[in-house]
Amino acid sequence: MVRLFSGQRAWVAQRFTAVMLLAAVLAGVAWLLLGEPLDYARWRALVTTPVGAVLTVLVFAMLAVHGWVGARDIVLDYVQPRGLRLALLGAILLILAATLIRVVLVLATHGAT
């Protein structure tokens, strides 16, 4: 588990997702500030169209990978006991995976209707 994305692979994954997420944040801020006032119809149209849904899932996937690398770094630095370390890393991985699955399910239901 500690080795899931190790060394250079983790570093590259962190940097790659950072660049992608930077683009997503800039697009999101522009969408909020420059577009029409935010309402239900506009929000729904953004995230439930096929393209919007795929992009939303991609953003959450990148957040999960980026979050995993960062969280693992923090655990490797501050948590030295092996058992506690594995438990924490497992919990973080579980929460990230559950979050991602939930987003996919939510968008699948709403995209279908």
Binding site: G7, Q8, V12, L76, D77, Y78
Partner: protein
């Protein structure tokens, strides 16, 4: 001049304590080390390492007013009083300002700090162009005083696994050397979540290097070399 110095005697103390000293420096005392040597003549129980007293041997690294530095290079007139002296952070304390450098040097040896070149040596010497030699500037000057590694939080948390800024600067010194043929093996050794990639580029190392070197730049170069090697 008022000083507060970290004292610990392993034979009699269970906890360290801070001891206050007042001393009038002589006109010839220019650096912090001069005052420490004068203090030692008054209180010979005070322990610290020193040798060359001119920033070459790297023996008298310590935490001076919260930052790591060499006592022999620290000018007295730049010091705020009281001058608070503690041993290098994160290193096991042997006595007073003397720390155990065993792990630090183990990391240094782990990066094979010598030229590796299986080709039979030429009759006189392995030549370098001025440009090739230029690449070693800012690397070969390191005196292994440990100011940088002992100011690096990543080294504090994983001193047994992270090579630390000093060791990584030395590693890059041999990666950058045109006469060394083991670049790929050296990079492979460093591609590890602990050895190299604990570095978060906070640049504490470069902030405190008494020789004005930049371990953070060396680490940046190693990561780019690894990227180039794998692509």
């Amino acid at each position: 001049m008022h000083l507060r110095i970290y004292r610990f005697n392993p034979d009699t103390d269970t906890q360290p304590r801070m001891q206050d000293y007042d001393i009038t420096p002589e006109a010839s005392d220019k650096k912090l080390l001069d005052v420490l040597v004068r203090l030692k003549s008054v209180d010979d129980s005070l322990s610290f390492r020193r040798s060359c007293r001119e920033g070459i041997c790297g023996s008298d690294a310590m935490n001076i007013n919260g930052r790591n530095g060499l006592a022999c290079l620290q000018s007295l007139d730049e010091l705020k009083q009281p001058v608070v002296l503690r041993p290098l952070p994160g290193f096991p304390v042997i006595r007073d300002l003397i720390v155990d450098m065993t792990l630090f040097f183990a990391h240094y040896h782990s990066i094979k700090p010598y030229l590796i070149n299986p080709e039979s040596p030429p009759e006189r010497e392995r030549l370098q162009t001025p440009e090739q030699r230029e690449r070693l500037n800012g690397l070969y000057e390191c005196i292994l005083c440990a100011c940088c590694s002992a100011f690096c939080p990543s080294f504090w948390w994983n001193p047994d696994k992270f090579i630390g800024p000093a060791g990584l600067l030395q590693a890059y010194r041999f990666i950058a050397d045109s006469r060394d043929t083991a670049t790929a093996e050296r990079l492979d050794y460093l591609d590890d979540v602990y050895r190299l990639y604990r570095c978060r580029t906070i640049m504490n190392c470069t902030e405190v290097c008494p020789k004005g070197l930049s371990p953070s730049h060396a680490i940046e170069q190693i990561r780019l070399a690894l990227l180039k090697q794998s692509s």
